[in-house]
């Protein structure tokens, strides 16, 4: 066996070099778009007055979940501010938002495709497994070769790492839609597109939103690693703290990540299950609309019973 070795590493390196040499235009274009999006969003976040931003975040929390979530959000953001991490936190936030957005835009169509096509599903499964199990740092190496140091390789690695749950949950959600309901669409002559838009996507939405939540959480965990590639933000601070063995700085930056994570997780989780959060602003509005309807529904169920079996309905009514 001595001396026998399959040079997979060399092959990949050669492929990466070839891409770097021959597809420079494409790489530059990606780089330009990513920089434009991330830097643009960071600029918007940083140019907005901090108080306004905190209020907006709190309002979002109240709208989808509850007043307590809004209070918690305001406190968290104030804490980030008080630790002097505001700028870094906003940089991380824009990296996460843009990365998650790109991942979702790619993941949902892929998920739909693999839900509808067994061949695609068979091909996609090992690729997704590979993407999820490959240590996340490894993505950084070719990304740095392609895009050099900065926010772009960090974002590209983040997108690759965060993609799989989005694809998987979308596929799962669509395939989990009650087959009889889909059959009903076919039976009334709906086209595949009409079935997708009118039946499958709406009914799969809670599962898809759970996938989006996962994408965002993975993006956030990867955004820290992206700090190693030189992306500005909390990740960079964590990396600096590691290299200087600065406990205080590391804990503060880490805490900033946790606070952002909790906010993003609770908001996106609540978006997927709007009916469970009755004390949210949106929930209260929905309830006010549904208040009269619910009462009627009970009466009707009773009325139907009365029609089916007149003797059963007026129980207890005789006493009046």
């Amino acid at each position: 066996m001595d001396g026998f070795r399959i040079p997979i590493g060399e092959w990949v390196a050669a492929a990466v070099a070839w891409v770097k040499d021959n597809l420079e235009g494409v790489l530059d274009f990606i780089s330009f778009i990513v920089k434009f999006l991330v830097n643009g969003l960071t600029d918007v976040l940083l140019s907005t007055p901090i108080v306004v931003l905190i209020i907006i975040a709190a309002l979002i929390a109240w709208a989808v979940r509850s007043i307590w979530m809004a209070v918690g959000t305001a406190v968290s953001f104030a804490l980030i501010l008080s630790m002097g991490l505001w700028v870094a936190a906003m940089q991380t936030l824009s990296l996460v938002v843009v990365a998650a957005l790109i991942a979702v835009v790619i993941a949902i169509p892929l998920g739909i495709w693999s839900a509808r096509n067994a061949t695609v599903r068979t091909i996609m499964k090992p690729i997704l497994d590979f993407m999820q199990t490959m240590p996340a740092f490894v993505y950084l190496i070719p990304a740095i070769v392609f895009f050099s140091i900065g926010v772009v390789p960090g974002l590209v690695a983040t997108v690759i790492f965060a993609l799989p749950p989005g694809v998987r949950m979308t596929e799962l959600g669509i395939r989990g839609v009650d087959s009889e309901t889909v059959e009903a669409g076919h039976a009334f002559g709906a086209t595949p597109g009409q079935i997708l838009r009118g039946i499958q996507l709406p009914l799969a939405m809670p599962t898809i939103m759970a996938g989006v939540n996962q994408v965002i959480m993975l993006s956030l965990s990867m955004a820290v690693i992206a700090g190693m590639a030189g992306a500005d933000g909390l990740g960079k601070l964590v990396v600096q703290a590691i290299s200087t063995v600065n406990i205080g700085k590391g804990v503060e930056a880490g805490l900033g990540v946790v606070l952002l994570a909790v906010f993003l997780d609770r908001v996106t989780a609540a978006l997927g299950t709007p009916n469970e959060h009755t004390s949210s602003l949106l929930g209260m509005m929905a309830r006010r609309r549904g208040a009269q309807q619910a009462g009627k529904a009970d009466a009707a169920a009773e009325a139907e019973r009365a029609v089916a079996s007149p003797h059963r309905a007026p129980i207890g009514g005789g006493a009046a």
Binding site: E180, A184, G189, A300, E304, A308, P310, G316, G318, A319
Partner: protein, 461 residues
């Protein structure tokens, strides 16, 4: 326009690796088990015609291929071999777009579990087929409301399906199929998921609608009684083959083979019919929140000495007797709780009549029938049980209550006079006994009157 709305000729459906080979071998006379290596044959050489305006029932046990057949009629399942002709149009092998057009214009469907779109209101669900046809919004909602009224759901258009009971949801399913305004309606076990009493009502409503609309309906069921009630003609399926097609009477009186005979006639009615088939509306029944006065009144109206007590959701809690209730009224208590007794006998809905006789004899009240959740869904008086065993179409219907007995006091009074009159003719001992008994009755009647009086006063108060 021909008489025939739908024709299936030599239909085969085989799931599996090599369907065409399986069909070839089945045609050559091999059996279903012989061809298992080439694929599972769900439907084998099924041919039938459905006439315009009739209800054609396909009946069979689960796994007999009935659900597969109905899905081949509108192309939801590919046809492995054979042909389906709807209004002169061939279904087998037509392109998808043509198939969609046929589904939009000629064939609509009602599903076992309703298959409504949970995120759309009732009206939008009903309007869905019209939306697919490209009807403008105002027109399709107008049409939807018209159909909703037709199935008796007036005013429910803006609710979500989840706010409706099962029976109402299936009415929405039927309304949706009717809104499509197709000549042919396929109903796949449409009522199988509903409560027995609701199911019976829906069957009646379907017959009513059919009288008005004269659609061509293909109805799938595993329920013999449903098939007999709805079907103008019935096809009985077994193991993928149609074993007999005929009117309900044909099938009952002239079964084509042993299987059908076993299915419909030779079987002991007591072993086929279930409690749900013969039960009547539960009565007398009082809610646990009602007082003893209400209970007494219910019992008096039903000529019963006891009544069932149900809680929320119609759960059977127990029973109360009139004597206990009278005592309660005397004491001035208002809650039935203290006199609630456990029900000695109750039977599940799917219990066959055979097993009901002993409980019926032992039960003081008409036998209570409860569903899986313990809700009281019906009662079976002994006479009903007896009548159900007899032949004839009316045996499962409700039976008129026998005339109430003449009151004890009245009988005693009459007997007292009669006893005097006949005494000389009879032996002395006999006459004495008659008189004795008459006196006893009178006393008991007096006691009953005493007990009844405070109640009457209470009511006035």
């Amino acid at each position: 326009m021909t008489e025939t709305a739908l024709e299936a000729r030599h239909l085969f459906k085989v799931f599996g690796r090599n369907p065409n080979q399986a069909v070839r071998r089945l045609k050559a006379g091999e059996s279903r088990t012989d061809t298992l290596d080439a694929g599972t044959a769900a439907v084998i050489d099924a041919s039938f015609t459905v006439n315009r305006g009739e209800i054609f029932v396909i009946m069979g046990l689960s796994g007999s291929g009935k659900s597969t057949i109905i899905r081949m009629l509108n192309g939801l399942h590919d046809i492995t071999d054979g042909s389906v002709v709807i209004n002169g149009d061939e279904i087998a092998g037509v392109p998808a777009s043509r198939l969609r057009q046929i589904r939009r214009e000629n064939v609509s469907m009602v599903f076992q579990h309703f298959a409504l779109l949970p995120h759309r209101t009732v009206a939008d669900n009903v309007a869905y087929p019209l939306e697919l046809k490209g009807v403008p919004k105002a027109d399709r909602l107008a049409k939807a409301n018209e159909v909703i009224a037709m199935v008796g759901l007036d005013g429910w258009g803006d609710k979500l399906p989840s706010q409706l009971s099962g029976g109402m949801q299936q009415r929405v399913g039927i309304a949706r199929a009717l809104a499509a305004d197709t000549e042919i309606l396929l109903m796949d076990e449409a009522f199988s998921a509903l409560d027995p009493l609701i199911r019976r009502e829906m069957q009646e409503q379907l017959v009513e609608l059919q009288e008005k609309l004269q659609k061509t309906i293909v109805f799938i069921t595993h329920d013999l009684n449903e098939a007999m009630f709805l079907g103008d003609r019935i096809a009985v399926m077994r193991d993928g083959r149609i074993v007999q097609i005929g009117t309900p009477e044909d099938i009952l009186t002239d079964p084509a083979n042993d299987y059908v005979e076993q299915f419909v006639q030779d079987v002991d009615r007591a072993r086929v019919l279930t409690a749900a088939n013969v039960m009547e509306r539960p009565r007398p029944v009082v809610a646990d929140t009602a007082g003893p006065r209400t209970a007494l009144r219910q019992m008096r109206d039903a000529y019963m000495s006891a009544a069932y007590v149900t809680g929320r959701d119609r759960k059977l809690l127990g029973m109360v007797t009139d004597r206990d209730a009278v005592k309660l009224v005397r004491k001035g208590e208002t809650s039935l709780k203290s006199i609630l007794k456990p029900v000695p006998q109750s039977v599940p809905e799917d219990e066959v009549l055979m097993n009901l006789f002993v409980p019926a004899v032992e039960s003081q009240l008409p036998l209570a029938v409860v569903d899986a959740e313990g809700r009281l869904t019906g009662v079976i008086p002994r006479v009903t049980l007896l009548a159900a065993l007899g032949p004839g179409p009316n045996s499962t219907e409700e039976i008129t209550l026998p005339l109430p007995p003449v009151s004890h006091a009245e009988i005693a009074a009459v007997l007292g006079e009669a006893a005097d009159a006949v005494a000389p003719a009879a032996t002395t001992g006999d006459a004495a006994r008659v008189v004795e008994r008459a006196e006893g009755e009178t006393k008991r009647a007096e006691r009953a009157r005493d007990e009844a009086e405070p109640q009457t006063e209470g009511e006035v108060r």
